[in-house]
Amino acid sequence: MAETPQPRHLLFVRVTHWLTTIAFLALLVTGLEIVVSHPRFYWGETGNVNTEPLFKIPIPASRNLVPTGYGYVLPDQNGWSRHLHFQSAWLLILTGLLYVGAGLLRGYFRRELFPTRSDLSATQLMGAIAEHLRFKRPSAEEAWSYNVLQRLAYLLIIFVGFPLIIWTGLAMSPSFVSAVPAAVNLLGGQQSARTLHFFLTGALVLFLVVHIFMVILAGFWSRVRAMISGRAVELTEGGRIGAREERV
């Protein structure tokens, strides 16, 4: 049998990448829909329309309890939004566990995501940043591994961003915090948790925008194809896609 080329992305990475994409987009849309029912944010334990908000989002609300200055109330979408938000949160958490578990088993994080010592030297880092600032299209070899900035960004999102947004989400649950009060106390209160959850959403959306921009810069279809099928090479001449065995 002919030598099987190593896929660019392992199967578990590809599967969990797209499951996370689905979960994240569903969480984003439903999360914003829930915010519409009370587009005011507070700091501390409590907050309501009788108290001073930290900030307001200048949009109409889906409940007429909230004084928004608009003369109308948007349709209430909280029922399905809350259902889908929590169902997607489960998908995200289970996908995350699968990803971290498989990643540890395969030595994936050490090999693919942790920067090497030389990567982290000042000259290497400055060089990588300079290349990014010039929007330089990555070289062909770079299609086969992550550069140092990618590695740091992915590590930050996977091991800091997602855990924090899950934590702040759980800290809003009156039932969860009855069992784990520190989850909300450490954040400074239930309304603080809600506000932090909103800011973290902003941070994750910012990551998503930069991520998609970089994928476009590197060649959108070839990178998307690599994340779907595992193949990083261009189509063969004539566009024929050779059947290839893949490692799982």
């Binding site: 334990e45 309501n48 909280n78 029922g79 809350r82 259902h83 489960w90 649950s173 969860f176 239930q190």
Partner: protein, 252 residues
């Protein structure tokens, strides 16, 4: 196929088989130990069931956070309610002297209590937060008779799984499982912040469920039914909220 990948295929197969049989066993156990919510059907059923089961495993005996007196909100918010009908107005004019709480279902002694009787029972107070699913909240001191005391008094059957409670407002009804019904913080509340429970906040009688969102703390409660067959009420989804598209379990 290399040796390594064959081993991986076998391992993956074993993991998948174990996972699938694990799910079947988990579903059976969840049903037996009351970890399946009444609204477990439909496309959001898996999420609801996971949430309820996980929360119940984690929180069966946990207490909602209680706050200090200084943390009581100076500006609590009486959420808007549908217009209160003629019957309520009559009760209000009469100072709720004739307001009754009827208790029936799987109880040894079906009983009807007046508000005065409920107020004469041992009372408990706690300073807890009430959160609306919209996102706002306030902290208040709630005073009332523990629901568990009333359930003891009427001789609720040990096989009971849920307590259904209804508002004087037509079509408003809720239910909780026994973990919440017997929970020491769950009150039939008749007082708030040291005074009477005002009408805007659910007076004369409000269910106060501390570990769930505000809609479980039903206002203007007039009756309780103890049951071991929650599916026979309304559309079989556990309460009025799932019939309107919301989750029966509101702990999150």
């Amino acid at each position: 196929m290399s040796k390594l990948s064959r081993r991986q295929v076998i391992a993956t197969g074993l993991v998948a088989t174990a996972g699938a049989s694990g799910l079947v066993v988990a579903a059976k156990l969840a049903g037996r130990y009351g970890l399946v919510p009444p609204d477990s059907g439909g496309i959001y059923g898996p999420g609801e069931t996971l949430t309820y089961a996980a929360q119940r495993l984690l929180t069966r005996h946990s207490q909602a956070r209680e706050f200090s007196r200084s943390q009581i909100s100076d500006k609590p918010l009486a959420n808007e309610v549908a217009p209160l009908g003629d019957e309520f107005q009559r009760h209000q004019k009469a100072g709720f002297a004739d307001w009754r709480l009827n208790v029936d279902g799987m109880v040894a002694r079906p009983t009807s209590f007046s508000v005065a009787e409920l107020k004469s029972f041992p009372r408990r107070s706690h300073i807890t937060m009430i959160q609306c699913e919209e996102g706002w909240s306030y902290i208040a001191e709630w005073t009332g008779v523990p629901l568990s005391y009333v359930l003891d008094l009427v001789g609720a059957a040990p096989q009971a799984t849920h307590v259904v409670y209804r508002s004087i407002q037509p079509d408003w009804w809720e239910s909780v499982d026994m973990a919440d019904a017997l929970h020491p913080q769950t009150l039939l509340a008749h007082g708030m912040n040291g005074g009477e429970l005002r009408v805007g906040f659910g007076g004369p009688l409000r269910m106060r469920v501390t570990r769930q969102l505000g809609y479980k703390s039903l206002k203007y409660v007039t009756s309780l039914t103890v049951t071991n067959n929650i599916k026979q009420f309304g559309k079989g989804l556990g309460s009025a909220e799932p019939e309107g598209g919301y989750a029966w379990f509101a702990g999150i």
